[in-house]
Symmetry: C2
Subunit: 375 residues, 2 copies
Amino acid sequence: MSVRLQIEATRGSARTGKLITPHGEVETPVFMPVGTLGSVKGVSQDVLEELGVEILLANTYHLFLRPGVETVRKMGGLHRFMSWDRAILTDSGGFQVFSLTDLRKVSDEGVAFRSHLDGSPHFLSPEKAMEVQIGLGADIIMAFDECTEYPADGQRAQHKREVPWGGSALRRRPCGSGATPRLDGAEPRPHAQSLFGIVQGGTDRELRRESADRTIDIGFPGYAIGGLSVGEPRELTRDIVESTLEHLPSDQPRYLMGVGTPEEIAYYAQSGIDMMDCVLPTRAARHGLLFTSEGKLSIKQARYAQDESALDPACDCRVCQRYSRAYLRHLYAANELLAQVLNTVHNLHYYLATMRTVRTWIRAGRAPATGVPRM
Amino acid sequence: MSVRLQIEATRGSARTGKLITPHGEVETPVFMPVGTLGSVKGVSQDVLEELGVEILLANTYHLFLRPGVETVRKMGGLHRFMSWDRAILTDSGGFQVFSLTDLRKVSDEGVAFRSHLDGSPHFLSPEKAMEVQIGLGADIIMAFDECTEYPADGQRAQHKREVPWGGSALRRRPCGSGATPRLDGAEPRPHAQSLFGIVQGGTDRELRRESADRTIDIGFPGYAIGGLSVGEPRELTRDIVESTLEHLPSDQPRYLMGVGTPEEIAYYAQSGIDMMDCVLPTRAARHGLLFTSEGKLSIKQARYAQDESALDPACDCRVCQRYSRAYLRHLYAANELLAQVLNTVHNLHYYLATMRTVRTWIRAGRAPATGVPRM
């Protein structure tokens, strides 16, 4: 049984619901923080739980190189390896591999590439990308990008049961009460990985429609929109997302990959997207760029050196509750590790709070009012 | 009124007690983690509270350069600036300034030096070191090293009441229940900074005796032993510490500066030292060197790549309770921020647990048994 979306409220094409996974339920629409190497940089798993993170994204390409899929598999899969008992989604590695423009060679069989770390040669094919993702054992895995024709046939579906955590989500040692997978009803929890298809087609509406049709023909438990938010005008992204959404099944999860700013995640959640991910909140945090209810704030600026106010006076995260802008600015200017830790916690909280607000609106059937990022 | 030591149990020259400070009580013997720039690198203040840290050391030299004493003073002093409502001790800056061998010039008035950051010229004298430490507002401040003859006269004692937090330890915003200063009895809490004298004299027992006598003649609420653990043989350190201890008042706090390994802090606590500090647990952690009940462990080693056991199976810190050596090794090898965070939390816990064990022994009047670092 695959992950499934239990829709709870709708408003236009937008909806709230629960994504039922082998590792607990995920309230949707959801923003998924990125834990590239099995860690959201600087933030421990108990803090992620406290923030209310219910699903993380990890990068297959990076984990493939370090520590390697065999290590993760032997350690019981990514959940157990990183001691994270909630849901995980892995990308296919395709995006990163195709980005290695000087280090890769594409053929019909797959992509030969060299590691960005040490130049060692590797090969990723659709089959290999699946094998690696099965070894990592995420709840949701992604088809190898640019390969939506990948045959998710019966044989492959059997392999999905070879995940390291087998038929149950056992844990090595206790994680605190917050980590317990939650299931409301008596319905059984899914016991296998779920492979999502990816709709490509660039910025051509017709190609997107065709890709959507062919991906749906194969049949997946969820569909992603890939290849957007890569530099094209924002209005064009919006247009392509909305036209593609019309071709996707309304009763299955819809995942917009690599998006985006607080304004964008709020907007697309209201357009009917259920899942999004982006490195922006975590990466920006490490560069001192913070998202607040009053807009973006660059904490490195000297104007904050003696500013006693909270980073975001409207925010109830533990950073804003405890520390002043002056202290955060000092930590950043002095290159203190804690700057990156605290900035990341705040930005993640801001993103998750944004999605909570959007879910409340959709449930209430109200149009977005104040206090929300507008696109 | 100065900080005072309330001795509770003794065993030979060793004792347990409570150091009563304007910002709460500190169980002694105590190990003080180092928060050089007003932050224990990578560890947020709430985690320090959870670890049971009751007093932190901060470095005057570093804070003098960044963010500068005027900023800290305007922000209400170091406690409020860093949102830390427990006790703080600042060093005088002397050790760092005298270490800048190529960048400083010593005269009778003080030390002219250039910042290690940008080469900007500065000057520290005994008077200036006091002025800076008063601006920072730590509970315990230190005499400018090599200047034990500094006249802590009546006029200077008045200045001690000019600390930014004034006569009470007010906080800007709540910090969680753990942060509340604790006082048992009805005795009033000290309301001023306390200046500790420092006994110098290198490795010459007679010079140490003379320095101790002259420092005691001036009269301080506490005495530090400085200038040791700087490369001399360990046996010599022990000899000098123990002979110096004989000359210090038994009813006042005795602080051994810059010490040491887990074995050393356990040993000196049993020799009658009440306070110690060292960058070792935090600095070693950032380099992957971890202290465990089974000895030192270098987590970077490939032998831990698939080691599912806890870092220290005998440790109840939240790192050992949750993560495997394999995961910690991966984080370190992949240069993940979280490696430094988690390693630091574990090492600090190990140091604090070591001191808790030693205190228990002293109270019980028992000789050290198993499970403790031996020197």
